[in-house]
Amino acid sequence: MSTRIQKEAKKENLLINMGPSHPAMHGTIRIMLELDGEKILNSEVEVGYLHRGFEKICENRTYFNLLPYTDRMNYVSPLINNLAYVMTIEKMLGVDVPERAQHIRVIMGELSRIADHLTCIAAMAMECGAFTVFLYKIKAREFIWDVIEETTGARMTTSYIRIGGVKSDLHPDYESQLKTAIKETRKVLEDVDGLLSKNKIFLNRTKDIAVVTPEEAVSFGWTGPCLRSTGVYYDVRKAHPYLVYKNLDFEIPLGERGDNFDRYYVRMKEMEQSLRIIEQSMEKIPKSSSSASLMAKGIEPAEAIKASRKKKTEERIKLSSNLEGSEKDAYKGILTDDKRYIIPPKEDTYTSIEGIINHFKFFMKGHGIRPPKGEVYFSVEGGNGELGFYIVSDGTDRPYRLHLRAPCFHIVSALEKMIHGHYVADIIPSFGSLNMIGGELDR
């Protein structure tokens, strides 16, 4: 079957494929170009090479089970995906999240946003030939991922933010680590600003190329840094504040022309604001109720189970800190106290009948988290823009329908229009500045 461009293309022009396996196409997108020499007369973007049936899988998983799938949507900032999903469910259930958990969510979310922007600019600059920038940015991202890894236990597929709070408390030594990450990121941002923002080659390839007007951007459903680069003031964190963003002081950087350079520059400025948010949140975060020294002490699990057969044990149990629900002490600060929505602490599950009932009620088929009947839409500000979930619940333990509003999908749909009339070489920075993430685009 022939596609639109194959029908429309004139015989004398060259029809060429860019991608799907082309290093600058970030893996999984195909652009068919009708060229006159180097000039793009017409183009067609084909997506779907990374389609994994996310929405279909989710309809067949319980609300708790499908959380790891959300990691795999925008795989550069998985924590924001977790956040968007979890907060949608919380909106349906009406769960109150402790303030400490909210601050942890903000810190983790902003770190992910920085990692996302760093990756975008790194790739974009590298494809324009600035390999140094790529290395610098990846170096900064490593520091950020160190913090994320220490806290969540994983670099990319975190599944850290849970319904009712977060999985575990911050690492005892997180503060110094986070301060190092902030310091190093600031330094890299300064270096990169010096390398790129007044660089003649970079400016020639980005200034006044692929210009998008504010009207067009809104009509294409753009959100996030791409929309703000055109000068439209819209950020979910300001427009519909969630978590503790209301109490934090930050600005929304705006662009003027909506070209490639503005998209780069808005991202650079936004990272600085994210660093500011993290610093404020670090100061405002309430103290943790758990202490690190307690974690290692206690009796062996086998002994505790044996003892619990005779009477209820009061002693602490030595549990691996990686074990789900082992942080009983910290629960008060990081998880809601509503027992219906959280995994009971492992100590209770092992040693008390209430704990084991609670555990089974949570994981048994047909039980667990069951939001009330109805439909809900909730969105957060993701790395690329408004990341929203639309969930229809029929009162069972699985979503009846789950739809992800992926910001990428709307942004990439404008690519055909953006590159029209430009040269083949302009595709690379234009496409790079959009920050297409295959997992989110194709779902």
């Binding site: 079957m1 596609t3 639109r4 997506v47 779907g48 389609h51 049936g53 929405e55 279909k56 899988i57 067949n60 909106k91 349906m92 067009e216 809104v218 009509s219 294409f220 459903g221 439209v232 819209y234 427009a239 519909h240 109805g374 439909e375 809900v376 839409y377 408004e386 929203g388 639309y390 229809v392 009846y400 329908r401 739809h403 509003r405 999908f409 709307h410 749909s413 404008a414 229009k417 194709d442 779902r443």
Partner: protein, 159 residues
């Protein structure tokens, strides 16, 4: 309340066309007649409501109910900062609805996605093809009667 005002004015302007309005979990939803979708949405897009962004478009398959499909539009107004959910119902026998491609440019891909996943046709769409699935894919994967692990037949090599 901004939303309440919109609902009242809509009811006044389009009597009989609005089937139901509801507010659940803080989201305002309006169920409208299929025939007047374009008219109502175009009305909302203009001043004074200025729902100038099509935030999202999707479909829900209520298998076993009549009408079976429900198309869900999320509109957003950047200047006024309010969201609105518009829903309209389609029966399985007559799966066709007006395309919004002339109002919003992202409707093009969003409608292709709904066509791809549910088989809903959009009247007036310039290029209604599958978007995620390939040509030759059989069935519509997000319908409730499509099994999770269904296998597809092999397609011959393209020439």
């Amino acid at each position: 309340m901004e939303e309440k005002k919109i609902l009242e004015e809509l009811n006044e302007k389009f009597p009989q066309k609005i089937r139901e309005t509801s507010k659940l979990f803080g989201d305002v939803a309006i169920v409208i007649e299929r025939e007047s979708l374009f008219e109502i949405v175009a009305f909302l897009k203009n001043k004074p409501y200025e729902c100038n962004m099509l935030l999202d478009l999707t479909c829900v398959d209520y298998k076993g109910q009549e009408p079976r499909f429900e198309i869900v539009y999320h509109l957003f107004s950047v200047p006024n900062n309010h969201r609105l959910r518009i829903k309209t119902q389609l029966s399985e026998k007559d799966l066709i609805i007006d395309s919004l491609t002339s109002l919003w440019r992202n409707a093009n891909w969003l409608e292709r996605e709904v066509f791809d996943m549910f088989g809903v046709h959009f009247k007036g769409h310039p290029d209604l093809r599958r978007i995620f699935m390939y040509d030759g894919f059989e069935g519509y994967p997000l319908r409730k009667d499509y099994p999770l692990r269904k296998r597809q037949p092999r397609i011959p090599l393209r020439k």
